[in-house]
Symmetry: C2
Subunit: 275 residues, 2 copies
């Protein structure tokens, strides 16, 4: 693993790291905020998954997460949203290819070689973090935004031994029922729709439940809310399976990082209590 950038921030350091991933067969980039801590300490850790078109940079630069992470002594990791680089397939549709990995393992050619973000997050990223940073593996949570909210929810539900808490901002709650997901899943996973359900948070709640509670923040002026996000479907599934979900709806807020930054403190404090 190489550290390619490091900026001191709120007495900690926000670093950009690069490492080779077996799952995605290419170099991957992630950023990690490490707060000031004693050398013997293991720290609570949150993995942030970003949305369509984002890289590791957006959250690092725009969320303002460092202040609260510093106060709560949490490590924050934000990986890229897909494999990238020469030889990695891409598409001119912003919701497909580089920047749009959808946190799944593709099965269809030519995507199946590199587009394995599900295994990247749950195996390579977590292992690299464990080898290089003082993370407390028993106290690790996950959260994300939009496509990354979908990623956080689906990955947590399927890996409760890895992630003890999950929350999301404006997540794609049921990608198999909306355009972004239908299009990407057909291309990455093929037409066997049964496979798709393994990457749909609403379906996963109905089939597996979740052992803890869930926090979702949603802006009511979000331009993608009606067509793509569908928080009502997730809420209904949680109700059916007795999974406590807090869906907070915020008047006037949109899909941007201005929305995320406004409520990021609440999410860190919420995870901190549960980890």
């Amino acid at each position: 693993m190489d550290i390619v950038q490091s900026n001191k921030s709120f007495n900690g350091n926000h670093q950009v790291c690069s490492h080779y991933s077996e799952s995605t067969q290419c170099d991957m980039t992630f950023s990690v905020f490490v707060p000031e801590h004693k050398s013997s300490e293991k720290l609570k850790t949150l993995v942030w998954l970003s949305g369509l078109t984002c890289s590791e940079e957006n959250f690092r630069v725009k969320s303002g997460v460092q202040r609260i992470a510093s106060e709560l002594k949490m490590i924050i990791v934000s990986p890229d949203t897909s494999p990238r680089g020469e030889g990695v397939p891409d598409n001119e549709n912003y919701a497909l290819g580089q920047g749009a990995g959808f946190y799944l393992d593709a099965t269809e050619s030519p995507w199946d070689k590199h587009f394995n973000m599900y295994t990247y997050i749950t195996k390579d990223l977590i292992e690299t973090m464990g080898n290089n940073f003082p993370i407390d593996r028993g106290k690790t949570g996950i959260f994300g935004h939009s496509m990354g909210g979908h990623g956080a929810l689906t990955i947590a539900i399927k890996n409760p031994e890895l992630f003890k808490s999950v929350s999301a901002f404006a997540p794609i709650c049921s990608p198999t029922k909306v355009g972004w997901g239908e299009n990407a899943f057909a291309i990455y996973l093929g037409d066997q729709q049964l496979k798709w359900l393994e990457y749909d948070a609403t379906e996963l709640i109905l089939n597996r439940g979740w052992y803890s509670d869930i926090l979702i923040d949603q802006g009511l002026d979000d331009e993608y809310l009606e067509q793509y996000l569908k928080p009502g479907l997730l809420q209904e599934a949680c109700k059916q399976k007795n999974v406590p979900i807090q869906l907070r709806q915020h008047e006037g807020y949109d899909h941007s990082y201005f929305f995320i930054a406004s409520f990021i403190e609440d999410h860190l404090r919420w995870h901190d209590k549960r980890l």
Copy 2:
């Protein structure tokens, strides 16, 4: 004035505005955060001046200013760093032309038509703000970063009736004595170096003083500190003229917005007490 973008943030709105400026003879862009407030209220206001290569966007997106501005009920205005657009001269040197207005009124051709950022800030911007937002003109301060720290200091010292408080992050403290300033001032102002001194904070303190105190934050790992910033010269001038200056030097911090974001809260609270 047109509002070209608006995002709700911490219960206020961060807007991007465009208006025609007589001083710069072109459309200018600025961003303004307006916190939640009663319709009858006039609010304390801070003008933020950005550094080389920045537009109105950097501070809006990266500083995290909205949280504290919302708490303290302050309006925050961040103008662009130069005129822009077709017909506005430019240069391939990042420290000259568009993105590098140096907050002065150019006297040399072809810069003198548009590059009048000093008058733009002190006249057109302040008037446009007064006509469109509930600013309290008697409670307005100014601050900035790098070239914008230079701008904030020089503009405040020359306009104590407009700006009641001034602070800066890593300001260019004596541009007439460093490469960035020598190069830009020669091109914008010509070779009469006496004119240059009107845009040098250290010289202005020596010649005019300042009726209040000054706060400067400086990172000690700032890659531009030795060659371009020279806070020691400003500190020495303040000492000579009995101007109270607090120069805080921060180990490990660089010139980036990670540094600014780490201490922005201190600056807002500092101005709030003085306005």
